[in-house]
Amino acid sequence: MNSKVIKRHSKVTIFMHWFNAFCWFFLLATGLGLIKNKDLQLLGGWWSNLMYSIFGSGETLLLVHEICGLTWLVVFIVYIIFGSRKYVIPFLKQVFTYSPATDLKWLIKKNIQMTLGNKWLKRLGFTADIPEQGFYNVGQKLFAVASILGGIVIAATGIIMFLSNILLQNTAIVQWAIVIHFVAVGVVTGGLLVHIYMAAISPDERPAFFSMFTGTVPEDYAEHHHKLWYDEIKSAERKAHSA
């Protein structure tokens, strides 16, 4: 064990992460509250009633949902425009790069390991080694892709609904936008639950959770969880020293 740390996240990344997280919780809570139709409330009307009592009325609830959604969108557009070369494009390259054979192996083994443990991994005939991962592991990458595509769909359908009573004439588009908005949020929320467990509850990724505040991870964590990235950093360091 050594106590050296490696820089993992910039201040901008950390800000965008927590800004996004805050908006997601707020929009999810208020958005679910807006679905007041009894036939669409699978878990009963209590959540809607709670949101109505917090915000006073349905129209206020709609207004804060729209304001938060638009703020989220504007901040992300600014981030994408001004951070494209430094943050956005490198991030997209990372999360859209896959090596199917080892990725599939990782997904299967990691799922068994996380839910049943190493004993079962062996009992089911797998070896205990898990394919080495880069800056992000496959699970993180898949969740990132779901969030990006989901985010685009949610933003587009949100804009359609927002513009509906300002300038749109075609109501069929608006009706479809509501449904697609809901489904996309459902898909990303599913992944979000796993993301939150991994980061905040599972002890395995605790250093990654703290890195979302400090920006750094311990070297041994990087070596064990993101070996390929760790090796890259180390070889770059070596080159820098020898130069």
Binding site: L34, I35, K36, N37, D39, L40, L42, L43, G58, E59, L62, M114, T115, L116, G117, N118, K119, A128, D129, I130, M161, S164, N165, I166, L167, L168, T171, A172, V174, Q175, W176, I178, V179, F182, V183, G186, V187, T189, G190, G191, L193, V194, Y197, I201, S202, P203, D204, D220, H224
Partner: protein, 253 residues
């Protein structure tokens, strides 16, 4: 429901003067080409007209939003911007919560709803809420020269509408496939009866209702997955991350 505002209409006395439509249009500033109320008409069968038979004569039937007890429009609205007001039993539209998706429009068998061309939200009869707040009757009721429309609270046994319902034979006009349980009653001789349409929920909203359990099911599966991981974390103590790391270090060496 403390009250149920309703109308009893004697359509035999309607002379098709369109006074109710005009008064409504002025009172509620209904935009050009749109109407909150109407007069339906039954044409006589001229081919088989006989002098003695009066039943085949021209007949006019005034109407407006029926403020139903089984409101298909409310069932189609995702946000409940359109809802049944439990104070007076009217079907209301909260225009600030309505995003103008128009799902409720085909859901009304009577065609009582339209999307306001400027406001781009749904508009319909509200039994003249502003006039009622001043203690007046709805504009269509006040203006009718033959007093075809009677307005009042069904739940109040002393009201004119309750008295009429008790003493006269009345009918409701509805589509057999979707009985919305309307709160406008007609004296039994009324015609036409076959005009309300089947309530239609837009396909997007229908699909939403159908896939809703699957979306929640997907989220639920993820909850189960997380619970499985949490269970493993709490129950299988011998595999702490440190032990795992050591194990992997052994593999590396």
């Amino acid at each position: 429901m403390k009250k149920q505002l309703a109308m009893v209409i004697d359509s035999t006395s309607c002379i098709d003067c369109k006074g109710c439509m005009t008064a409504c249009k002025v009172e509620n500033k209904v935009p050009p080409g749109k109407w909150r109320n109407w007069i339906k008409e039954q044409d006589p069968d001229f081919e088989n007209l006989s002098r003695s038979d009066n039943s085949e004569s021209l007949h006019f039937q005034p109407g407006n939003c029926m403020h139903c007890d089984n409101p298909t429009c409310v069932q189609a609205c995702p946000t409940s911007a359109t809802y049944k007001n439990d104070k007076d039993g009217t079907i209301k539209v909260n225009k600030k919560l309505c995003i103008g998706c128009g799902s409720c429009i085909p859901a009304c068998p009577y065609g009582a709803r339209y999307r306001h061309p400027e406001e781009k939200v749904v508009d319909k009869c509200d039994f003249c809420e502003r006039r009622r707040a001043r203690g007046e009757l709805p504009a269509c009721v006040t203006t009718c020269p033959t007093k075809a429309r009677t307005f009042g609270d069904l739940k109040d046994p002393n009201s004119e509408v309750a008295r009429l319902l008790k003493s006269k034979k009345t009918v409701k006009v509805f589509n057999r496939q979707t009985d919305t349980q309307p709160n406008i009653y007609y004296m039994s001789m009324t015609a036409p009866l076959d005009w309300p349409l089947k309530a239609e929920t837009p396909s997007a909203i229908q699909l939403w209702k159908a896939i809703n359990p699957f979306v929640w099911g997907f989220v639920g599966l993820n909850v189960l997955g997380v619970l499985a991981m949490l269970g493993k974390q709490l129950l299988i103590k011998d595999e702490s991350p440190e032990a795992e790391h050591k194990q992997r270090e052994d593999v590396h060496e």
